[in-house]
């Protein structure tokens, strides 16, 4: 299937979306705790991908391009005030898994709590890192140098460690 065919065919677009839906959902979850907000962002990202697809020149992988579009939508979306993390509302589906394993659930909640304390830019970097993207690709998506990325990553790691340790101690 060539990229050009994807531009004009809704059915092909659905296939494309199905293949990359995971990326979009993870970004929506990373930036919004509220399910309605996640749905809104998902809609915006899908719409934007559909509109911007004719501009995709194929000079990067399609998944890289989708990361860019989705992160651009998530980071540039205006939030009036940062919502505090609500444990009860975090990922209702994550809670389902947790029923089988309380410890795992606790760690999922803690992970989101720690991530929620990061800035929008840091969230993007940690998401790409957790999605196993190589450093070169992360730097490319973010538009920063790899040195800058290393500094930011080490800061993010430290912030996450402090949050997790604070929780364990407290």
């Amino acid at each position: 299937m060539t990229e050009n065919k994807l531009l004009f065919n809704e059915k092909d677009f659905e296939v494309l979306l199905e293949e990359h839906r995971g990326i979009i959902w993870r970004i929506c979850r990373m930036y919004h705790r509220d399910e309605a907000d996640q749905q809104d962002l998902y809609q915006e990202i899908v719409l934007r991908i559909w509109q911007a697809l004719p501009g995709f020149r194929g000079d990067s992988q399609l998944s890289t391009w989708i990361y860019r579009v989705a992160l651009n939508m998530a980071i540039s979306g205006f939030r009036k005030q940062k919502k505090q993390l609500q444990y009860g509302k975090i990922n209702a589906d994550a809670l389902c898994i947790a029923e089988a394993d309380d410890e795992k659930q606790e760690t999922i909640n803690l992970m989101y709590k720690a991530i929620n304390g990061l800035t929008d830019i840091e969230k993007a970097i940690i998401l790409l890192h957790l999605d196993q993207q190589p450093n070169e690709e992360i730097a490319n998506i973010m538009g920063i140098t790899q040195n800058n990325l290393r500094v930011k990553m080490s800061r993010i790691r430290e912030r996450l460690r402090v949050t997790m340790n604070a929780h364990r101690d407290g």
Binding site: G55, S76, D120, M142, T145, N147, R161
Partner: protein, 213 residues
């Protein structure tokens, strides 16, 4: 005590679980999504600009037309000139509205480039919005002045013998002065509306540019 590296490894393990929890989306739902209108903040800003331009294009010329038909003290040519000015302004802002549509950053830019372009877009938008509001304010003041002073001006013309052009000029000068005086308040109001978003963009760009040599 866990090290930062330990935490990240643990996060990666957990992330694999989270990845498996993706919500199921009905393919038909995606078709609906791509037909919906964008709810982005930038789309909302543009829409509010379009509404103001349309108001300026339809409402103000109607008021000016009503004035042309009823005013005694004001020179008809002056009012006709105002009508043409209003329509020209509306045309100019409609053009600016279209330009803003073309200026929107490409969604596939890298994050830093996108945010920079978005910031430029916002600055241009605020500048156009400010000019539009200033123009509308000036027209409103002018119309109110003409409406409120028609009879006194007519009497003044009778008593002093000033011609209609001199009076029209005086009205224009007073309008300009009031508009200039209102400018700082308008600026405060508009930056109050859009300033937080601009600051959010600036802060994200600053963060990305930290440690760049």
């Amino acid at each position: 005590m866990h090290t930062a590296m330990d935490e990240l490894l643990k996060f990666k393990e957990i992330w694999q679980i989270v990845q498996d929890q993706e919500l199921r989306v009905n393919p038909l739902q995606n078709r609906v999504l791509i037909r919906k209108q964008s709810n982005r903040i930038v789309a909302k800003f543009r829409k509010s600009l379009l509404i103001e331009v349309c108001l300026c294009m339809i409402v103000l010329p109607i008021i000016v037309w009503a004035l042309i038909a009823n005013m005694a003290s004001i020179n008809r040519n002056f009012l006709l000139f105002l009508g043409v000015l209003v329509i020209s302004c509306a045309g100019y802002y409609l053009h600016k509205y279209r330009e803003l549509g073309k200026m929107e950053p490409a969604a596939g830019f890298n994050v830093k480039q996108f945010l920079n372009e978005q910031l430029l877009w916002m600055q241009e938008f605020v500048s156009v919005y400010m000019r539009l509001n200033l123009s509308v304010l000036a027209f409103c003041i002018l119309i109110l002045m003409i409406l409120g002073t028609d009879s006194p001006l007519y009497l003044l013309q009778e008593i002093t013998g000033f011609n209609q052009y001199a009076i029209s000029l005086a009205i224009l000068v007073i309008t300009a002065m009031i508009t200039l005086a209102a400018y700082p308040l308008l600026k405060l109001y508009i930056y109050g509306m859009f300033g937080r978003y601009i600051r959010q963009l600036e802060s994200n760009i600053r963060e990305l540019e930290e440690n760049e040599s």
